[in-house]
């Protein structure tokens, strides 16, 4: 039974509560629901987390921004081609900290998703992000990126306008920014499309988010020639927040309420805001050059390999 089936059962019970008017029974059922959630939703499998990360009701970037910012002004366009709606960018005020926020936005309904292109940015989206990051650097504003995308859009126009170049340019420029950069993975972190906003001093990740090189379905298809093995692939790919924290790819996990962020959005937003404020405070003590050096050094360290030391092998051969 996966997490969605469990959630359906919880919703069913909650539906029953709404119908009841007997207070004692309501209390009993509420206890029952809590017990059930604690029993079944604590040790989630990797596939459960994939399902939660893609959940229809999962809070989107805009909801995060609306909760966290006292004020937010959205800025549009890359000044080259057009405005990409799958990336929201602008200047916001989080409890007195003026920051540039760049976020990938999923839709809640089909129409919204078509408008947002299912949160799959085109090159112009990444160029808009870069433009505003440069602007933030100019005015010494910290940058916060919210990552939630299945990947960069693979289409005709995207290729014609240099999707690869746009992502590469973002990686290149982001690694050298002299302002604090905090990336928060709030849902799906899909491949290069996510990394293009994810080269940060501190990478935070919601507990039930995923961050991977491609979708579990794609992984199963490419390596095992069978897309139905996606749940096994999710397990093998080490894409959950716990695994990634162990590898050092992310720095901090943001707790989610039991059963996923959408069960208690308020709590999710509060935790996220708290974590961002703390990390902003931590990064404030570094100068711009220090921030750049720290960031480059951090990414320089990633890799999993060994090297033969020829000196130790003298006399062996």
């Amino acid at each position: 039974m996966d997490i969605l089936a469990k959630e359906r059962k919880v919703r069913e019970l909650e539906g029953k509560i709404a119908e009841l008017d007997n207070e004692e029974l309501v209390k009993k059922l509420e206890v029952e629901i809590k017990r059930y959630k604690e029993e079944t939703m604590t040790n989630l499998t990797a596939w459960d987390r994939v399902l939660l990360a893609r959940h229809q009701l999962r809070p989107t970037s805009l909801e995060f921004i609306n909760y966290m910012c006292d004020d937010f002004i959205e800025l549009h366009g890359d000044r080259l081609f057009r405005d990409d709606k799958s990336i929201i960018a602008g200047i916001g005020n989080i409890r007195g900290n003026v920051v540039t926020i760049i976020a990938q936005q999923k839709g809640k309904s089909l129409e919204e998703n078509l408008e947002r292109n299912f949160s799959m940015p085109h090159p112009e989206g990444y160029r808009k992000a870069l433009r505003l990051m440069k602007q933030a650097e100019k005015f010494k504003r910290p940058i916060i990126t919210l990552i939630d995308t299945p990947g960069a859009y693979p289409g005709l126009g995207a290729e014609e306008r240099g999707q690869g170049e746009a992502i590469a340019r973002n990686l290149f420029e982001m690694s050298a920014l002299t302002v604090p950069v905090i990336a928060v993975i709030i849902g799906e972190g899909g491949s290069g499309g996510a990394l293009a906003l994810g080269v940060a001093n501190t990478v935070l990740m919601l507990e039930n988010s995923i961050y991977s090189i491609l979708s579990p379905e794609g992984y199963a298809t490419i390596l095992w020639k069978d897309a139905t093995l996606a749940s096994e692939a999710a397990e093998a790919m080490k894409l959950t927040s716990n695994d990634l924290e162990e590898y050092g790819v992310i720095d901090r996990i943001i707790k989610e309420p039991l059963g996923g962020a959408h069960f208690n959005k308020e709590e999710t937003f509060r935790n996220t805001k708290q974590a961002i404020l703390e990390e902003l405070h931590n990064l404030k003590r570094f100068t711009g050059i220090e921030l750049r050096e720290k960031r480059i050094k951090k990414y320089r360290g990633f890799g999993f390999f060994q090297r033969f030391n020829y000196d130790n092998l003298k006399g062996v051969k």
Partner: protein
């Protein structure tokens, strides 16, 4: 991290059968695009071609001008001055961070087949007498995909150029990031891009030559960050693979889409250069950027 490496060592210590190779000159008979036998059909134009003549002709089909894929070693042979190449940074061992079944065996098989330690080699060389650092990806090693070792070696080659204050030329040929190493492969994109930034900061010349095929995570990192981006004729260059795009948009791609000439037209490649002219073009560019001391 350290725990993981230890666990890996314990698991694999009995299986360690990597060979030490210092020289690349003995690279052996790996399967290439060039047809085998004396006379064979060219896979592109279906014309019967003399195989030996094709190889002597820089691996280009004489009748249709198709540039066949070239192994890294051959690429170095046809690009640099004879006897000037010195390989650096050899001896990396690819590990298996996700404990994928059969991945180590696959790597060992490729190592034996290609005589390379990974899909990328780099070193010092001279082109028309101009000293430079050269890095070449080999698409015959697991599609030239970028895992931890390739990422590390690319970064090392940038650092070597930085240290020696030399220009750097990279020939790319890759299917993208290596799926078997998961998130570690993804991080190599950021790592190599940051290394390219360091070169740019010191105002050292960085030339990339995109060869068939350059796609995925390599296109989206160091391949498209060169000061000058050259490409070989009719090479596949793009971010998403053609099949993925066809599935997404549900229609056939137009003729010549994602080929080098297309990219030149769209403004993402500086110049498409024939393989015969590659050495001279690179030599001239190096000459133009020579630093007087």
């Amino acid at each position: 991290m350290n725990d993981l490496i230890k666990a890996f060592e314990n698991r694999k210590s009995s299986k360690n059968k990597f060979k030490i190779q210092r020289k690349i000159s003995k690279a052996s008979s790996v399967k290439t695009d060039v047809p085998k036998g004396l006379y064979e059909q060219c896979p592109n134009c279906k014309e019967t071609v003399n195989v030996k003549a094709t190889i002597e002709n820089n691996f280009i089909c004489k009748s249709c001008n198709e540039h066949f894929r070239v192994r890294a070693v051959d690429r170095i042979k046809i690009t640099v001055d004879l006897g000037t190449f010195v390989e650096k940074g050899h001896g990396y061992i690819t590990l298996n961070p996700l404990f994928q079944d059969g991945y180590e065996e696959k790597i060992i098989a490729y190592k034996e087949k290609t005589n390379l330690d990974e899909a990328y080699i780099y070193g010092y060389c001279e082109i028309n007498g101009m000293p430079t650092v050269i890095g070449v990806m080999d698409s015959y090693f697991l599609m030239g995909s970028m895992g931890s070792v390739v990422g590390e070696k690319v970064t090392k080659s940038f650092e070597y150029a930085l240290y020696k204050k030399l220009p750097i030329i990279i020939f790319t040929a890759s299917g993208g990031a290596r799926m078997q190493e998961g998130i570690f492969s993804l991080m190599q994109m950021a790592k190599t891009s940051a290394a390219a930034w360091k070169i740019a900061e010191q105002k050292q010349l960085y030339i990339t030559v995109l060869t068939n095929p350059t796609t995925g995570g390599v296109t989206a990192s160091f391949a498209t960050l060169g000061d000058i981006i050259l490409a070989e004729p009719n090479a596949l260059i793009g971010f998403a693979g053609p099949r993925v795009i066809e599935q997404t948009i549900n229609q056939k791609l137009p003729e010549g889409f994602q080929k080098s000439e297309f990219l030149e037209k769209k403004g993402f490649v500086d110049k498409v250069v024939h393989r015969d002219d590659m050495k001279d073009t690179l030599g001239k560019l190096l000459l133009f950027h020579r630093r007087y001391q």
